[in-house]
């Protein structure tokens, strides 16, 4: 039976290798410097071109979402850990846990209902949707890290006469810093891969590099989706290169996040 389990483990490892290698092999063909710096060709069935506009769009939209989600998420985690009493804390924790489970398409529909209908499709709407997806991830990761900081560190700070807020900012957060960074990086990796909510909010901008988030933007994930579901082999090739790029970015973020958490001052997992 244990032999069976070993075989199972090897098989699963093989499955992961199959997925990653397949994407890598298909993507390596079309991945060149031009792919990273050019926009798609005017005629979508033409060869060449790249996803430069999608890469820029991803950076801008995910960047904006991170800017909004990190302070909110860390603030909420601090509230949970430091200030909220029993009942409120457990209710707040429940809300955050539930938010973690909301399908991202539903978040997209929500942002469409409150933003896109009034202001049109834009990078801001996309960033809003991604921010809502990232916040619960950051809250949970930060709260777990804060819980791991030993209580006596805090007590010592109070004994020295430091106010609670100052303690949090100067003692607690720096101690938990590595874990918080890990949580943020994992949330960013998740947001980079999101497609569904963006289809409803940023809509896409296939040809041009758009740096103004007030206009429609495309992201790497959306361009992959368009190329993957289309019938032109050249567009598919570009999409494979895009998929490889995306996987490399996401894996890099994930692996670096793990390394950072291992160097954490508290309870590195």
């Amino acid at each position: 039976m244990t032999v069976l389990m070993t075989v199972l483990m090897i098989a699963i490892g093989g499955l992961l290798a199959w997925i990653l290698l397949y994407v890598a092999l298909k993507g390596i063909h079309a991945l060149n410097w031009g792919f990273l710096t050019d926009t798609p060709p005017g005629n979508p069935s033409d060869a060449g071109g790249g996803f430069y506009n999608g890469i820029i769009g991803s950076l801008i939209i995910v960047g904006l979402a991170t800017l909004a989600a990190v302070p909110l998420g860390i603030g909420c985690a601090i509230c949970l850990n430091q200030y909220a009493g029993g009942r409120i804390a457990s209710m707040l924790r429940l809300v955050v846990d539930v938010m973690l489970g909301i399908p991202t398409i539903v978040t997209g529909a929500f942002v469409y209902a409150i933003w896109v209908i009034y202001f049109g499709f834009s990078g801001y709407a996309g960033a809003l949707a991604l921010g809502l997806v990232m916040v619960p991830l950051i809250v949970r990761a930060t709260e777990e890290m804060l819980r791991l900081v030993p209580r006596d560190v805090q007590e010592a700070s109070y004994a020295l006469g430091v106010t609670q807020s100052r303690t949090i900012v100067s003692v607690l957060l720096p101690t938990a810093r590595a874990g918080i960074i890990t949580g943020v990086m994992l949330a960013v990796a998740r947001a980079m891969g999101e497609t569904a909510p963006l289809l409803l909010t940023a809509l896409g901008n296939d040809l041009f590099v758009e740096t103004n988030p007030g206009n429609r933007m495309s992201t790497l994930s959306m361009q992959i989706f368009t190329g993957a579901t289309g019938g032109f082999t050249n567009a598919q090739d570009r999409a494979w290169a895009g998929a490889l790029t995306l996987i490399v970015i996401v894996l890099a973020l994930t692996i670096v996040a793990r390394l950072v958490s291992r160097s954490s001052a508290v309870g590195g997992r």
């Binding site: 005629n43 979508p44 069935s45 901008n205 296939d206 040809l207 758009e210 579901t229 019938g231 032109f232």
Partner: protein, 392 residues
């Protein structure tokens, strides 16, 4: 006078194409009308450049970015136009989300212009938040019936009733006697038919179901009042998102049949069939046969017309034009000027591009009628341009 010139122009076009075609079995001359001989199109890409003159100077103060969305049918040519036009200083961001999406978004005013292969319905026009909407035809194209059948090349003969029965799920195998009857010389394998249709709200669906409504009594009998539209209650089949998605599904699924624009079929390396038209002739979709269908269409004042099932011998029965949907009463000066400039350019210089990717440019009369629509666009009550129109 106009009619005579049109017929002369059509005849000249046909003669030109006939003389230029290389290696095709039969010229596209009407001499064989009535017989069941299929009309062949040249497989060589004909580069037809009408070189329409640019009648007015672009308006100054136009916005640097325009946002459009809608039909995936027109997406390849729209993409080429946007790429070329960006050198003139305005980026036209167009997203192919389906004609239904184009109508929906222009109604809600979340985009500057929409694009749809079928004219808007009265209910859709009534729901437009910004007032009356103009239909401006941009380019002509053919909707092919493409398939992926082992051992069968392009040129399978299909008629409306057979296609209708396939899409109803009543004909389920490629070696069905109904298909065999239309193609006595073809070897059809024993392969299940995988019907592919659109999963999104599509003008191409509207054009295709318009054809089925006019050509397939079985289709109308089953679907009744809902037999035609951008969204139809498909009895069977796989759904692809956008013409792109249908192209992908037909290319990847053995035994598939799907309806998609000609450029998608050619660029996606799909095989497609000859469809029987109103005159009983099996017509190959191509620039010439799409043009022939358009020449036979009369457009009313608001330009809402269908090019499907026209009575010319070499008219392809599933032809369509894509309409740009713009508000007549514009309120944003910069955007309005950019719209007028871009659309005028697309209807003049832009008409040199379509033939390079298997779309057909519009004939002179239709092009002038489209430009006349642009004259109707007003800003704060005053028209923005006065393009001289001549139907000569």
């Amino acid at each position: 006078m106009i009619l005579r010139k049109t017929v002369l122009a059509a005849g000249a076009l046909v003669a030109l194409l006939a003389s230029a075609s290389v290696g095709s079995a039969k010229p596209a001359a009407p001499a064989n009308s009535g017989a069941a001989a299929p009309v062949q199109c040249s497989t060589k890409l004909l580069v037809l450049r009408p070189h329409y003159p640019d009648p007015v100077k672009p308006l100054a103060g136009a916005a640097g970015a325009l946002s459009g969305a809608g039909s995936t049918f027109v997406a390849p040519i729209m993409s080429m136009w946007a790429q070329a036009y960006s050198k003139k200083g305005t980026n036209v961001a167009y997203q192919g989300i389906g004609s239904g999406g184009g109508v929906s978004q222009i109604d809600a005013q979340t985009v500057d212009f929409g694009a749809s292969d079928t004219p808007m319905l009265d209910t859709e026009l009534a729901a437009a938040k910004g007032g009356p909407i103009l239909h401006i035809p941009l380019v002509l194209g053919a909707v092919t019936v493409s398939y992926h059948v082992k051992g069968v090349a392009s040129g399978l003969n299909l008629d409306g009733e057979t296609i209708g029965k396939i899409y109803l799920g009543q004909i389920t195998n490629w070696n069905d006697p109904a298909i065999k009857k239309l193609n006595p010389k073809a070897t059809l394998p024993d392969e299940a038919i995988a019907v592919v249709h659109r999963s999104d709200s599509s003008g191409t669906t509207g054009v295709f179901t318009d054809f089925l409504t006019k050509a397939s009594p079985a289709w109308v009998a089953k679907l009744g009042a809902g037999s035609y539209g951008k969204v139809v209650a498909w009895p069977v089949g796989l759904g692809g998102s956008g013409s792109n998605g249908v192209t992908a599904l037909v290319g990847q699924t053995k035994g598939a049949i799907g309806y998609l624009e000609l450029q998608y079929a050619i660029a996606g390396k799909l095989t497609y069939g000859n469809v029987k038209n109103k005159k009983g002739i099996y017509v190959t979709p191509c620039i010439a046969t799409a043009t022939a269908a358009a020449l036979k269409t009369s457009f009313p004042a608001d330009m809402r017309a269908s090019l499907v099932w026209k009575g010319a011998p070499n008219a392809y029965p599933i032809t369509a034009t894509t309409f740009a949907l713009v508000y007549q009463k514009q309120t944003d000066a910069a955007k309005a000027k950019a719209l007028v400039n871009f659309l005028t350019w697309a209807l003049t210089t832009g008409q040199n591009f379509p033939a390079t990717i298997n779309f057909a440019p519009m004939g002179k009369i239709l092009q002038q009628r489209a430009l006349a629509q642009i004259n109707k666009i007003t800003l704060d009550g005053k028209p923005l341009v006065k393009i001289p129109i001549s139907y000569e």
